[in-house]
Subunit: 257 residues, 2 copies
């Protein structure tokens, strides 16, 4: 059975989409079948695979919309072992409708994904920058959640808010996944700010912080422009190597009891 | 009468909070009285002034909550000419309530701010990374809106979605402000990616893109850690100079008819 992993952080721009795409691609490289689900209405996943929003009709909304067609939501990424489901909302009105349906039927995403767990080794859910109904639905559907953060002050401050929100959902009766870990991303180790934040986050969260840190590299910023994960155009670079190391670290970690 | 400016971009992490704090501080330096309003429940403004969320009781929620106390929402930043109103929600439940009230009474924020416009030259509204009810309320309260973006692909893709959302709100009858401009932030001009995106955004949006670009500097990333705008601890650096230039460019621009 495939492992469903929600990629979550209410702070914007920490690298949820970038980590989702490049970690999945590193796992796909090792032969694991991965399905990526764009839960974020921004459609960042679609751009990361070089696809235009007009090119795809079916997606996340079809899981929540009674008139939708869930059978047609999976798109091939043209890369082996890597498929995706995009968020297929564009207007504010559609987005508000999706959020409302996710709030009304929070377990619907989990139920819709159940069929896919038999076909994939990993299912990654790329969440929007908030802890609202869509992120809550993704957490309910997940076995674990992964938290990217920048080695910067505002991202550090977002962590207690994130974990409080997960606790609040659990207190409300929602099944919450285990924390897979916190991964530091866009790290420039030369700066005092970064080493200061890294030290504090390792002090506070200890083993829950991955050893592997993803550096800020131009190649990683180019992923969305090229429409390719970094290991497919810069295999030997620091970015691809870091995501391969992260994949190894995740595979080696025993799933918490 | 003070000018109300909403700082908006649905893409996370482009620098809405950083631009709000440092642009306002550059204007405060020139003698303009500025009020910053944290419309984003993440409370990024509070951190940027080194304040702890437990230290402030009154804020945005008091505008929307019938039992609130709007008279006590303005906090002094300890810097001359710079005050702020923070978002004072923490839990998911409180945030959901704030969003619901903003959706139900979208003109409430504009009405609450009306009193302050006589006391300040500029009122900046720092918005969350989405185009939902809080951003919509901020746009209704504003005379103009400012769009920070990174010189990166996913931020570039966010622009049509942003402008479509503003058009959609206008079609729905909401008074929408004029576009003050798009400001490129976190720019590393040495990369091909940045110059490529800059070229495209200037091609597409022409005069609507400010000439001034804000570079990515470590000092700017340190603002939230120090709890001070960059011109108060690194006055001669590239970050402070860029924000002073942006302030000049904004002051020089004729308000559009
Ligand atoms: N390690 C990295 N090196 C260089 N650039 C990066 C890295 N990680 C992310 N980026 C870039 O930083 C920006 C933010 O990353 P991304 O969009 O993945 O974050 P996000 O958390 O998904 O954002 P949002 O909150 O809007 O969903 C993007 O332009 C991306 O290309
Ligand atoms: N010009 C810059 N140079 C260096 N760091 C910057 C710059 N602008 C922003 N940052 C840093 O980048 C991160 C994102 O910026 P910020 O939080 O202001 O963006 P935002 O759009 O307000 O994010 P959100 O979408 O979460 O509200 C922060 O850690 C901030 O310190
Ligand atoms: Mg994203
Ligand atoms: Mg912000």
């Amino acid at each position: 059975m495939g492992r469903a992993v929600a990629v979550v952080c209410p702070k914007g721009g920490v690298g949820k989409t970038t980590v989702t795409v490049n970690l999945a691609s590193a796992l796909a490289d090792m032969g694991f079948h991965c399905l990526l689900i764009g839960v974020d209405p921004q459609c960042g996943l679609l751009s990361s695979f070089g696809r235009d929003r007009f090119a795809v009709d079916y997606g996340l909304l079809d899981f929540f919309d009674p008139e939708g067609d869930p059978a047609r939501v999976v798109q091939s990424s043209t890369m082996p072992n890597l498929d995706f489901i995009t968020s297929n909302v564009w207007s504010r009105e559609e987005e508000a409708e999706l959020i409302e349906r996710a709030g009304a039927e929070p377990e619907r995403l989990a139920a819709s994904l159940a069929d896919y767990r038999g076909h994939y080794d990993f299912l990654f859910l790329d969440c929007p920058p908030n802890m609202g109904p869509l992120t809550a639905a993704a957490l309910r559907a997940a076995d674990a959640y992964l938290v990217p953060m920048q080695a910067e002050e505002l991202a550090y401050h977002a962590l207690p808010r994130l974990f409080d929100a997960v606790d609040e959902l659990a207190r409300g009766g929602a099944p919450m996944p285990e924390l897979m870990g916190i991964v530091l991303n866009q790290v420039d180790e030369r700066t005092r700010l970064a080493s200061n934040v890294i030290e504090r986050v390792r002090d506070d969260y200890g083993e829950q912080v991955f050893q592997t840190m993803i550096p800020r590299t131009v190649r990683l910023a180019e992923v969305a422009q090229r429409g390719l994960p970094v290991n497919l155009f810069n295999r030997s670079g620091a970015g691809a190597r870091a995501f391969a190391a992260l994949a190894e670290e995740i595979l080696a970690a025993p799933a918490r009891p």
